[in-house]
Structure formats: structure tokens, C-alpha cells
């Protein structure tokens, strides 16, 4: 649709598309290690059913998936396969990194064969810490991803821009912030602490990946 990437989609229609996209996600389960079992419990067991959120955990191939949930330790030997998987997925695509091993190497932070975090290979939208995270934590990660998608600027995403939240791209469009995130206006300087009201209009660079639980990325 040429309207989308030219940015001429009217806002209510963008909102409608975003809502419907976020409630019909197909997730590719890239389960590598112990977190795969918790992912299986979250996605496949009747107790922590993920289908009630609109997420279908059953695509047989990455080419049919909307987002990938990388769960478990990524080793250096496995890393090219993860990269290839990510390249096979069609846009728009998202990624959730589940568990400490995928976030940052986890308990194997000092190993000679472990990639210290899958975000060294693919860009991640939501980090779910834990070892392993409870299935409810993963479901919260999925909910946060859905919120992110709802607030997304489809045009920016379609174009492949880095900043895809609506707030960000509106600030860019309004000329307050340039593409690199630097404030253009002379009256705002970065050293001044923004008041709570200002904070809402001054976008955060880059869009912070969401961490379930709100803490620092473990």
C-alpha cells in the first residue's frame, strides 16, 4: 500500500491497523534451552494459554511469523543460524528475548562459547528477564509488545526507520528533533532536566527496549 510508507495513512486508520496487528500475532518459537520449556508451558499448556491474547504459537516456519521469541542460550556456533532466521522473517517483524541467557549471556556470562546476549545479532524489542522467567512473565512481555505495536508509527516501520513510536516520529515531523535524535530547538538543552510535562513531549532516544519488570536489563 503506497499510502502507508508515504505516511499518508489517516491516524484513525493507523490506529485500527495497529490494534488488529497486535491482536493477531503469529510467534515463531525459537526455543534453544531451558527457557524453551517455559515458553512451551506459556504457549502450549492450557494453564498459561497465550492464545487468549491473540497470539498463535503455531507457525511452522519463520516466513509465516510476525515475531520470534528467542529463548535459551545462544552459542557462537548457533549464532549464524539465528541471524539467518531473522533475515528470513518478513517485515514487519519483532523479537522478544526471553531469559537471562538470551538477554546478556546469563549464568554463562564468562563462557568461551556463549554469545553474550542475542541482541548482538538481532534487534530486540522486549527483554524478559528470569532464569527461567515464569510463563506469566513471558505473557507480560507479549502484552508489552502488543502495546508497543499499538503505539507504533506504521509508516516509519514500513520504511525501516529506527524510531517507530508515534511520539518519536511526530517529534521528527514537527522539526523538534532531527533524525539522529538531537534536539534542534535552541531553547531546549539536554542538560536541563525536563519537567514531567515536558518529558512527555521530549522523546527519549533511542526508543528504550522494554524490560518486563522495569529493571535494568539483566
Amino acid at each position: 500500500m503506497g499510502l502507508v510508507d508515504k505516511g499518508r495513512l489517516p491516524a484513525p486508520l493507523t490506529k485500527l491497523f495497529n490494534i488488529s496487528r497486535s491482536y493477531s500475532l503469529w510467534v515463531y518459537q525459537w526455543g534453544l534451552a531451558c527457557c524453551a520449556i517455559e515458553m512451551g508451558a506459556a504457549f502450549g499448556s492450557p494453564r498459561y494459554d497465550v492464545m487468549r491474547l491473540g497470539v498463535i504459537p503455531l507457525p511452522a516456519s519463520p516466513r509465516q511469523a510476525d515475531f520470534v521469541c528467542v529463548s535459551g542460550t545462544v552459542t557462537d556456533k548457533m549464532a549464524p543460524a539465528v541471524k539467518r532466521l531473522w533475515e528470513q522473517m518478513p517485515e514487519p517483524k519483532y523479537a522478544i528475548s526471553m531469559g537471562s541467557c538470551a538477554n546478556c549471556g546469563g549464568p554463562y556470562w564468562d563462557s568461551y562459547s556463549v554469545t553474550k546476549g542475542v541482541d548482538q545479532i538481532i534487534p530486540i524489542d522486549v527483554y524478559v528477564p528470569g532464569c527461567p522467567p515464569r510463563p506469566e512473565a513471558l505473557l507480560e512481555g507479549v502484552v508489552l509488545l502488543q502495546q508497543r505495536i499499538k503505539n507504533e508509527d506504521m509508516a516509519a516501520k514500513w520504511r525501516g526507520d529506527e524510531f517507530t513510536t508515534l511520539q518519536r516520529s511526530r517529534a521528527v515531523a514537527a522539526g523538534e528533533v532531527d533524525r539522529d535524535g538531537e534536539l534542534i530547538s535552541e531553547t531546549h538543552s539536554i542538560s536541563e532536566d525536563p519537567t514531567p510535562d515536558e518529558a512527555r513531549t521530549v522523546p527519549v532516544y533511542p526508543p528504550e527496549p522494554i524490560v518486563v519488570g522495569g529493571g535494568p536489563i539483566e
Binding site: W30, G31, L32, A33, C34, A36, I37, E38, G40, A41, G44, S45, P46, R47, G72, T73, T75, K77, M78, A81, L85, P107, Y108, D110, S111, Y112, S113, V114, C131, P132, R134
Partner: protein
Amino acid sequence: MTLTDRQQLSYIASQAADARLNVELETEGMTLNIGPQHPATHGTLRIICRLDGEQVVWAEPVAGYMHRGYEKLTEVRTFPQVTTLVNRIDWLGSFANEVPFILAAEKLMEIEAPPRAQVIRTILFELSRIANVSLFLGDLGVQMGAITPVFLAFRDREYILNLIEGATGGRFHPNFDRIGGLKDDLPKGWIAETRGAVKKLEEFCDTIDDLLFGNEIFQSRMRGIGIIPADIAKDYGLSGPNARASGIDWDLRRDQDLPLSYDLADWKVWTHPDGDSWARCWIRLQETRESCKIVNQLLDQIPAGPVMTKVPRIIKVPEGEAWVATENPLGEMGYYVVSKGGLGPFRVKIRSASFNNISIVPWALKGVYVPDVITILASLYFILGDIDR
């Protein structure tokens, strides 16, 4: 209806053409790459098969996609830290991984956990075995294309995970064993709840017995496939249900004298003479039922007392070497701990069951048809963390 001459001629010509084609057509072997990510492999195992038509001529597993360097990491960690790490080798039955390591450290320190701790350790060990093998039974269906058992398995496994979480705080990866005993005592009401959960698991075993093992398709896909004779099994070091399915009467719970309380319960070791895939799966089903029986009996016999002997706050294990192996859900898992009197071990050799179990795959898959490759791997049952450590 008789064919006209013309039809007859064209028929003969087409047959001749086909015959010529068959003679001239050469089929080349095809190399099929199963994995590293495939729903049928329990994780990132890659199997390279060279096929001749539908038969496997040569197969080779490529491991290492989950190699995290455990043995190097244990050299720079203290004993309690190693206990935490070691949980994640066999990640379905995690408590079972800690036990041989702790027993080896206790052997070097020449202490023994108090009786209450030993019984609770045994109960948790058997619960982790039930949790592990119940997922195996569910997964067995998925390998064949039957999807229902895995939902039942996840549902019923939740009861066991609830119990383990109630006692230890972690659904799996409990990190509950300590040198000298256990971290904590059991919470109130745990014993009654365990009895209820074990009963549900026994019903699950009966359901799987009906659904899967009684199913004609399952039986025809599993009986007579992947036969491993006993001497080959011993040569490769196959252990656990894989060995017992080949008729080897070897169970480390019964044949060793470890400070675990298996002698307090009345249970039996299951063996099967056939050595095929069916036997391996069937033995695991029976062992799950047997574990339920052991847990029930041990729950009646938990003695009162402390759960931890007196050990110093910061533990330094004296110099020495010790080997302890236990009958883990996957097979024989052992730790060879070399200590030099420090806070952590000097070298730990982790003998994991699946490494030996999968080393037989090149031998076992020769001449086998492609669908049987999946069933043989399913019946051998490995966990990637156990192969790759």
C-alpha cells in the same frame, strides 16, 4: 474393450520409453540435514543423513550448538555457585543434576546429610524424574504426529512443578541442595499435596498407556525398530532406560550404596529383552509408575530432624578426588570432582548420560528409513544440555 492397433502401439512405445528411462536414470544420494532447529529434536541437535532413496546410508549427529563450557566454568566458581549452574544441564529434571555433585562434595568432606534430608532429597529426585519423563511421554506423541499427549503432559506436569516450587522456590532449576543437606525444610501441607499430585500423575500414565501405547499406529512404528543389542549398548556406555530396554539389569539406585533412601521403599527395576524403540519407551512409562510408588512410600517415612548438618559458613572442600554417579532420569549421570582445598573445585568432569546415548546414533541409524530416524531419536531420549554441557 479391445484396444485399437494404434492404441496398442502407443502403449507399447510408452512402456519402452519408460524402460529406457529407468535404465538411464541414476539416483544420487541426497544429504538431508535434520536440525539444528526442528520440532522433533529436543533442542539444537543437527543430524546429517546421507540418503539412498528412503534409506539412511550414513548419519552423523553434530552437537555443540548448546555447548556452554560447563567444565571450564566450574573451575572459576565456588561449590554453591557450581550447584546453581549444574541445574541447567538436564533442564527438565533439574534437581537430579545437583544430587551427584553434592554427594561427591560430601564424600570429599566425609560428611553425610541427616536422614530427613536424605529422604527429602530422594523424594525430590523422584519427583524430578516424574516431571522429566512425563514430558517425554507427551513429546513422544508429537514426534509421531499425535499432538494431544503433549498438552496433557504440560497440564499434568504443572502439578509436579507446583510441588517443586512450593518446596524449593523454583519451578525447575530449584538450586535446593546444599553440601550437608538441603537449603530449607518442607512447607506445611506439602506432603498431602504431593500425594494428590502423584495420584494425578498415575492417572496420566494410564491415559498415555491407553492413548499412545495401545495405539496400533504407535506400535507398528515402534516395535522392531532400532534394535540395540546389549553388548553394543555396553560398549557405547548406554545407560538408564536405554540400557535396561536391551536387557541389561543395571540400576544405580539399587546397585550402589549412596546416602539416598531407596532402600526404604519397595520397588522394582524394569527390564525388557527386546532392545527396540518400543521397549525403551515402555520402560520409561513403567519407571514413571514405579517412581510414583516410591514417592508414595517415602512420604510416609520422612523422619523428623534437622535438614542440614553442621557445616562451616564458608565451605572449603578438602583435597581429593571423588566420583559419584546416580540414576538420573536420562541415565547414568556422574561427576568426577577434583578438589584442591579451595572454595571451588579444581576440575569437574561431568559425565552426562545423553552424550553416550547419542554416540550410538551413527551406528543405530544405518539402513533405517527416514520416518524411523525420528522415532529412534525419540526413543533414545536426550536433552541437548545433557549432550553439550
